[in-house]
């Protein structure tokens, strides 16, 4: 078994240990003065009202799903925008055997393919948005 992952396990161990020790220390050492205000649920400074277990309107979830469209879009577009025109060694002076696509960025051969793939991806997302629009997801009746 290799020892390559030892630092990662150590890191996890240290992270968990610090978090646990903080919680234990504050529970053991901290003063415990329970006043009525301190027992209230925290609502960012407002006085809480109503029950926390209320139902959300189902349209809220639809909007949240449509938001995911743009969320995923950004997730792909940022790395792509960085990689599209940067780096990329020409094929002749390629990196040593065994490495795949050169050090950074998209190789010159793949640039147009990847570019049009991303355009296609954006078109599909736009189609999904148009679908949601036509279906009336954005009308808050």
């Amino acid at each position: 078994m290799s020892t390559e992952f030892t630092p990662i396990f150590l890191f996890l161990l240290v992270a968990v240990a610090i978090a646990l020790s903080m919680m234990i220390a504050s529970a053991v050492l901290g003063p415990h003065k329970r006043t009525k205000v301190k027992q209230m649920p925290y609502e960012s400074g407002m006085n809480p009202f109503g029950d926390a277990r209320q139902r959300f309107d189902v349209r809220y979830y639809l909007i949240a799903i449509v938001f995911l469209l743009f969320d995923v879009e950004l997730l792909f577009l940022y790395p792509w925008a960085v990689a599209q025109w940067s780096g990329g060694v020409p094929a002749a002076t390629s990196a040593p055997a065994g490495s795949t696509l050169g050090p950074v960025g998209i190789p010159a051969e793949f640039r147009s393919l990847v570019f049009w793939e991303i355009q296609f991806f954006i078109v599909i997302l736009a189609a999904a948005l148009a679908y949601a629009w036509k279906k009336g997801v954005f009308e808050w009746r």
């Binding site: 290799s2 094929a91 390629s94 055997a97 065994g98 795949t100 696509l101 050169g102 190789p107 010159a108 051969e109 793949f110 393919l113 599909i124 189609a127 999904a128 148009a130 679908y131 036509k134 279906k135």
Partner: protein, 536 residues
């Protein structure tokens, strides 16, 4: 691999995937267009049929193209070609059965999702890479959730959709976890490279990890094929969903799941030969699954009176027979004489099963009684006299399901049991013979509940009038299934040859034609010493 060769490989792959791209593009376009155009469901169905036909022609056009097996994510080998052919043809049959199912205002989404399922199934047939395989399987699952929910807004359907959704997501998680371990076994995600690397190594470096991979991948795929212990959703879901979706669920995930098992598990694991401990454990696990699935499916099917529930348990039983093929395929590595016999019987059985199960469901779709669907066995009483043609088609399909010669199901069972009798782990062939005997006994038990329906149709007096519905598409699809079951039983030769070619392709690990084109993690062990886990 340098970028030039990688680019060529991507181009080749895109070229052989043109049929999938056609189907997928049509599916996406239909989904997007459906709220904008108020067309009747007939139009949407015709567009879907056109897309499937176009894909069929494209598939025939690309049939000669190949990709590099160690560089490409998709293969157009015999398994990829014949598998996609079967998916497209069965897709046309299912489309004919479904043409009357959705309401006009959801027809665009319904047939769009249907096309996506077909595209996903075709991707799995070609898959040569773990991630690609998973994408294909999800492309089958996700539109299925939508279809289950779209069809009817009753509380039963919603319960069914929810049940299937959560269990399917759970099984996808299991599968993905297993695939991660499979990647960890050798550090490559290309399946052919994975098999070749394990073949060149004296033994698999971490057999425990390999075992975890086998267990989890098998578990994830067992859900899709409805094998014990992941079978329990099948009867409820089949009964609660529209009949055409029950037909789809009984065939598409099953075919896809077994091909995925062959691609990702048996073809990779079995290369070590029958002496490897991992192979022996894999054989043991699938032996238990096969025996339990057959016994449970057939026993519980005896108690059913609802037709869809009965066919659901019958689908479970057939998953058990197919698991015999998987068990044999695990044991037959290239070191034993008959490499491809297990895979071959799986492929043949899948084709036969598609015909007979789609035909049986098709007859149920095509009949109505007293203003409702045909539901119980008693509803079919006297059908042989009131509706002779549908009764004949149903009888052929049921006899084929029970494995009576000269029908397709007989040759399917024959191949499966023959492969089990021929298999052995080293000198030990006892477990396989025992499994084959269990299978034969189960087939005899299964014949009882299939024949019970046939007897009800022909020997009982009719109770209420049963009228046909669905028009010529359903009749054509059912007729095609029934007559092909008969023709395939009389002349099994072409399908035997095709499934043999597919089985050979599935276990083919010829050395790379171009030495520099090899998987990402390291050069091939045959001409290099650098393998990621060996250096430590």
């Amino acid at each position: 691999m340098n970028p030039q060769i990688a680019y060529e490989s991507v181009q080749q792959t895109l070229r052989i995937l043109i049929p999938e791209l056609i189907v997928l593009a049509a599916g996406v376009a239909m989904m997007t267009a459906s709220p904008f155009f108020r067309w009747p469901r007939r139009t949407w169905c015709a567009i879907g049929a056109g897309a499937l036909t176009a894909a069929l022609l494209a598939l025939l056009a690309v049939s000669g193209l190949q990709t590099d097996m160690y560089a490409a994510v998709a293969l157009n080998d015999s398994l990829g070609f014949y598998g996609r052919l079967v998916v497209l043809l069965s897709g046309l049959i299912l489309l004919a059965l479904a043409h009357d199912e959705p309401a006009d205002d959801t027809a665009g989404e319904f047939f769009g999702a249907f096309l996506m399922i077909n595209a996903g199934a075709m991707l799995v047939m070609t898959a040569n890479e773990l991630v690609f395989l998973f994408v294909g399987l999800e492309l089958v699952s996700m539109p299925t959730y939508m279809l289950l929910y779209l069809s009817r807004r009753t509380s039963t359907t919603q319960e069914t959709a929810t049940k299937y959704f959560y269990l399917s997501i759970f099984s996808s998680g299991l599968l993905l976890y297993g695939l991660a371990f499979l990647y960890g076994v050798a550090g490559v995600s290309n399946l052919k490279a994975l098999a070749t690397l394990s073949w060149h190594l004296p033994s698999i470096p971490h057999p425990q990890l390999g075992l975890v991979a086998v267990v989890f991948v098998l578990a994830g795929l067992c859900f899709r094929v409805a094998a014990v212990p992941f079978h329990f959703y099948a009867p409820d879901v089949y009964q609660g969903s529209p009949t055409v979706l029950a037909a789809l669920l009984s065939w598409v995930p099953k075919g896809v799941g077994f091909v995925a098992m062959v691609r990702a598990l048996t073809a990779v694991i079995s290369v070590k030969g029958p002496d490897d401990p991992l192979v022996q454990k894999a054989v043991m696990i699938s032996w238990v699954v096969a025996a339990a699935t057959m016994i449970l499916g057939n026993t519980l099917a005896l108690l059913q009176n609802n037709l869809k529930r009965l066919l659901a348990y019958s689908a479970i039983a057939h998953a058990g027979y197919l698991m015999i093929g998987v068990t044999v395929a695990f044991a037959n590595g290239p070191k034993s004489g008959y490499v491809y016999y297990g895979c071959e019987s799986i492929f043949f059985y899948l084709v036969a099963y598609a015909l007979m199960t789609l035909g049986a469901f098709g007859v149920i779709i095509g009949l109505r009684t007293a203003g409702r669907d045909v539901e119980t066995v008693e509803d079919l009483a006297g059908l042989g006299f009131t509706q002779p043609l549908p009764a004949l088609a149903l009888a052929i399909c049921l006899l084929s399901l029970s494995g009576i010669p000269p029908l397709a199901g007989f040759w399917g069972k024959f191949e499966i049991f023959a492969s089990a009798f021929a298999a052995s782990l080293g000198d030990n062939s006892g477990p396989f013979i025992l499994l084959a005997v269990i299978g034969v006994l189960n087939a005899a038990v299964g014949a009882y509940y299939y024949l019970r329906i046939v007897v009800t149709m022909y020997l009982r007096p009719a109770r209420q009038t049963v009228v046909p519905r669905g028009g010529w598409p359903v009749a054509l699809a059912v007729g095609a299934c029934a007559s092909l079951s008969l023709i395939l039983g009389l002349f099994p030769g072409p399908i035997v040859r095709a499934s043999r070619a597919a089985a050979l392709a599935a276990v083919d690990h010829s050395p790379p034609s171009r030495p520099q084109v090899i998987v990402r993690s390291g050069p091939s062990p045959s001409h290099s010493t650098k393998i990621p886990w060996v250096q430590n």
